[in-house]
Symmetry: C3
Subunit: 290 residues, 3 copies
């Protein structure tokens, strides 16, 4: 792992307000002052490893080869392992062993090797006091120094011990399983700022017999939840104001959308909610949201 | 348009949370890894083209020559044109044809030429699959590649077709019209984080006969809205706590302010609300907010 | 003050939304286009000089030598002085004379010299119109130009006049006073995004006789406020869900925490609230939060 470009992408749930993001960035720049840091997001919901995993897997492949530092780490200070994961594309992922990094590793060509960071080695190579490691802020004390060292070309062998990838903690996949194709049941994997509802179902996997109405019945899990009809459209502007639409989102997933309003709010949908899509019956009303 | 410095400013309504800003930044850095990206704001209200236009026109002239990438684009995926606009100062503006770019073009010395981006040419020059353009995220798929290519010196002719500037979509001006000088009626063009209310009226255009009280009556449109008196002051610190003031804001506009509290909240004013200012009658009470 | 590395850290209460942060950054980059800008935070609560002072003192020493630009400035436009403060480590702090800079100066090895910025000199050296200084946005008009000039190596003598450090405005210390060791009374100096409550009391100063229960009684000032018991733990993961803990936070301070929920919300604690800690009596119930 030498000759890496000195890019570090950085993703956390720290929020910008309190200076915690900057504490990590400052630590990295003190170790390698020519690093270029690309902030992916620091506004992931506290402890939402699954959303962070999805965002990282989406963004990392778009950019240049980099060290990807990701810290959403509810288990900080416990025995969960600090990781560095090399990928086939040549990137390195740094973060906790809680499943956060693995979807991105897949998206970067697959995992090439995995390492447990040796904290004293990282601290020592970074010129930091070996014993001064907090129990609650490994972003600053362990992961940022490791990311900076790897980005400046320090050999992985000097910082970690190889581990068996089979032992890595994995998330339940936030992305679709094949079951979705059979039953049409899927989960909400994203609610974006505009209120669009991303589903764990690639648009191309939708049951194809929605013609001639080109609409799907949308059933939301939960007692008494109403059923809606969503028309298949290409983009927001194809919808009448207040009309519910179903489209291929910018990541290829099926997504529910309202023109000019929040579909998530209208439908009462949050991350992880279950939604079932089925071709709408002919003649079904296309109810409008407003 | 050659020899541009490799600065890209970046303004959207995407919010930082979901990784959409970073998806664009990563895309640009993959095309030109020495770009320097200056984030103007990504917290513009969803679809608020007018506010974004004002912010861009204010910030762009303060910095070095740059490519200014701005994406507030409710019409993404429809027939609205993707634009690049060259300015007299030497900057290039990139974004949708919905009026977003034109106030900044004026502030950068005026429009020199305007171009419709040819999406296949942009994709191809950027080394991206020509056909893989989403319907909903042209920020990543069209505008970021175009901005990166222009910032690294790609010739505009290779990326777009010249268009007649007369055909560009224009916003109703968010900045003052001359009418304001006659009637004193103006609109709220900004509510800042401190609750200061920026008005679409240059401070120097205020009717000048406010002496000797140096105060203005503030009438807010809407049935039953009370009338307030605002004293002309230089800065926040010249006001008593809870006193309403009128001052020249940092952009030269007239602005309403409360010392230590939100004038917008106190007066119930939002973007676009109508406010009428007139010299206060002598002896008028200067009501205090608290 | 020559040969400074061209890093500028930047801390304000402007928020990102309105373009005010970018207006400053653009101004700096126009003066020195090779500056590297590290954003510490722009989401400090409006006018919260004390929190900003603490954040700056925590982050600045972690990074490389830099010019640290900090603008939380409720007194902008009044007679409060614009400052530049050189530190023993070789950093320079730039901002208003309201106490904001001094904790960071201490953390950077102590104050070496202090200067009042001469606004016309700053403007002139920066190539900006000398007279065009707003009354409300010295971040853009005075402090950013000064920071950029200092970062590119302009001599301090050319930009300011030396002043007597004894005349600098000081904050009441946000950090602990020795009184805390005697009475156990302390104040809330931080509420982080996870709801952890940082106290103005170094963890090592806690009265040491909490054994054998290893728990502290937590008394919150205010009529009728209940008393809680907090168990001393190393990290979040050592707590049962809903259990209240007391731990050494990542800055060495005593902090109250709940596993998986906001301790601040649960305890009703805000910045500046008074909390008294005393060793829990043996046999005291360890009440749980949920």
């Amino acid at each position: 792992v030498t000759g890496l470009p000195a890019f570090v992408t950085f993703l956390t749930d720290f929020g910008w307000a309190g200076g915690y993001v900057a504490a990590c960035e400052a630590t990295m720049l003190r170790i390698a002052d020519d690093l270029r840091i690309l902030h992916i997001s620091h506004e992931v919901l506290s402890g939402d490893v699954m959303s962070a995993s999805l965002i990282l897997a989406r963004v990392a492949p778009l950019g240049p080869e980099a060290v990807h530092l990701a810290v959403v780490d509810p288990g900080v200070g416990t025995s969960r392992r600090p990781l560095a994961v090399a990928t086939a594309r040549g990137d390195v992922l740094v973060g906790p062993d809680n499943g956060l990094l693995l979807a991105a590793a897949d998206a970067l060509g697959g995992l090439a090797s995995a390492w447990t960071l040796k904290v004293p080695a990282v601290r020592s190579k970074a010129g930091l006091p070996v014993g001064e490691v907090s129990n609650t802020f490994h972003g600053r004390d362990v992961f940022s120094p490791a990311a900076a060292l790897l980005a400046k070309g320090t050999d992985m062998q000097a910082l970690g011990s190889p581990l068996d990838p089979e032992t890595l903690t994995r998330l339940e996949a936030p992305m679709p399983s094949a079951d979705a194709t059979k039953t049409g049941a899927t989960v909400v994997i994203e609610v974006d700022r505009f209120g669009n509802v991303g589903l764990g179902l690639p648009f191309d996997w939708l049951p194809a017999d929605a013609a001639p109405s080109h609409a799907y019945a949308v059933e939301i899990a939960g007692e008494g939840a109403p059923e809606w009809t969503a028309r298949v459209v290409r983009t927001y502007g194809d919808l009448a104001p207040g009309e519910l639409g179903l489209m291929r989102d910018s990541w290829g997933q099926a997504a529910l959308t309202l023109n000019g309003a929040s579909a998530a709010e209208f439908l009462g949908l949050k991350m992880g909610a279950t939604v079932t899509l089925a071709p709408a019956k002919e003649g079904a009303d296309e109810r409008e949201a407003n």
